[in-house]
């Protein structure tokens, strides 16, 4: 077993608009108060080699928090967690991480930010450049290219980094065009090669194609389900209108979430 949650729960805080009674009329005011809530609770699941766990929720904050617990970035408040020995959390690289760097330096920077140590990065540059189709432009500034190149580099780092579990958060995107078409095969190869994959997604087809098991996260409970049920949940959720995550960066405006 590579990683597990046993009846785990994480408490978080959110800002809630205050209700005030003004001249006898209850109104929501601009002032906010902090309110604690369960980001997830009762989460029990395991991840073995060669499995792809799909985490779905109406609120991407819940699935991302679960990923960050496995990535050793957040603690749990209740329950037990067994973290992967060598986990790699992949999130969409922001432009300001690498704005002034060349393509080669960007590969090094993105790998470094994902936690790859310096001595492993040297060996990573050539295969990542090859996978991301950037071999011929290694010394050109990254800002000469569109943001999709950045995403391709990030995905290529995830493929080649020495890790036993790769976790894709909901912001991960994989470039476009030809590269996107190859990504599903690459992700399946990673899974079939013995790595554990964890994917948080809002796209039903990703759950169906890639997942081997799934968990639906809600505030007060987490249900382990089959991938078909998770895909159905996402379709129903899309019809209802899903909650949008808070945007932090100017280039987050595209359709986020891993997709092939």
């Amino acid at each position: 077993m590579l990683a597990s949650f046993t009846d785990a729960g994480l408490e978080g805080f959110r800002l809630k608009k205050k209700q005030q009674i003004i001249k006898g009329v209850p109104r929501m005011t601009a002032t906010h108060e902090r309110e604690s809530y369960w980001v997830f609770r009762g989460l029990t699941t395991t991840l073995d080699a060669g499995e792809a766990l799909v985490l779905v929720s109406r609120d991407p904050a819940r699935t991302n928090a679960a990923l960050r617990v496995w990535a050793n970035l957040l603690p749990v408040d209740v329950g037990q967690v067994q973290r992967p020995q060598r986990g790699l959390l992949v999130s969409a690289p922001q432009s300001r991480w690498v704005r002034e760097l060349s393509v080669e330096q960007s590969i090094r920077m993105i790998a470094g930010i994902y936690g790859v140590p310096d001595n492993a990065i040297d060996a990573l540059v050539a295969p990542v450049a090859s996978t991301a189709d950037v071999e011929s432009v290694l010394h050109r500034p990254l800002e000469d290219f569109s943001k999709k190149l950045r995403y391709q580099i990030a995905f290529a780092v995830a493929i080649h980094a020495d890790s036993d579990v790769v976790m894709f958060d909901h912001t991960t995107v994989v470039g476009s065009g030809d590269f996107r078409k190859q990504c599903l095969d690459r992700a399946l190869a990673m899974r079939d090669g013995g790595k554990g994959l964890v994917v948080t997604t809002t796209k039903p087809q990703i759950a169906l194609h890639l997942g081997t098991k799934a968990v639906i996260l809600r505030g007060k409970r987490a249900d382990q389900v089959g991938v078909a049920e998770a895909a159905e949940f996402l379709i129903r959720d899309k019809v209802k209108g899903r909650k949008r995550s808070r945007r932090r960066d100017e280039d987050d405006d595209d359709d986020s979430g891993i997709g092939f």
């Binding site: 970035l73 959390l89 922001q94 920077m109 470094g112 936690g115 140590p117």
Partner: protein, 262 residues
Amino acid sequence: MISDLARLPGRRRTISLMVRQDLKQMYRRYRLGFVWTLGEPFLLAILMWVVFTFIFAGGRGIGLEPFIVFLITGLYPFQWFSQTIRKSPRSFRRFGDVLQSSPLPASTWPLRIVFVGLAEFLLSIPIILVFIFLGGASLTWGTVLFPVAIVLQILLCAGFALVEAGLALRWPDIEVFASILTRAFFWGSPILWSQKNFPDWLQPYLYLNPFHGVLDFYRASVWPEVLQPWTSYAISFGVILVILVVGIWMVHGSGLTLRRKV
């Protein structure tokens, strides 16, 4: 806590890329670009030299000539120190998104600011040398203390950066307080004055300001006579160590809960 810190040396090339990125980003919108890193303290030194030599005649009481070299050897290290104090409280907020998704140790982000300042300072050393030779001064045996001063300043800046970054999570007002602290260090450090301006009994207490000891080591390159008995430096270095330990505790002592507060 210690294992978290022990991972940092293995990330030094990533951190150096971050420094390069920050330096380029900082100066890309100016026509003169990186020249301003060197030009700002240079112009400030000229201004202060004019004011304190011709208007207040303040350089005379210091007894260390040339006064312009005295100013330059104080202002360039102070620029690094003040930049650290001013920017560190915002470091976790500025890098909040990457802090929340990257397994790099949390201290990476405050230390990034320290190393940007270090890079600027190292690039300013030729300017300091030009001033020393144009000013008619010469290097002495005390130059061997210059690298020691750089190491001590790295520790001092790292300590302040970690303390302020950790404090900003609990008490955001530190951002306002930082500018006051910068001014306090400017007037409380021997940039415009020397310990000779103070009575003998008071001089050891001046070294409670840790930057004082660091500046003496820089200036010993030209004026070895500024060096005081070792006890004074023991005080300064003791304070540096205390600040550093408190900073490490503030950032790493809270473990994973730190990222929840950002």
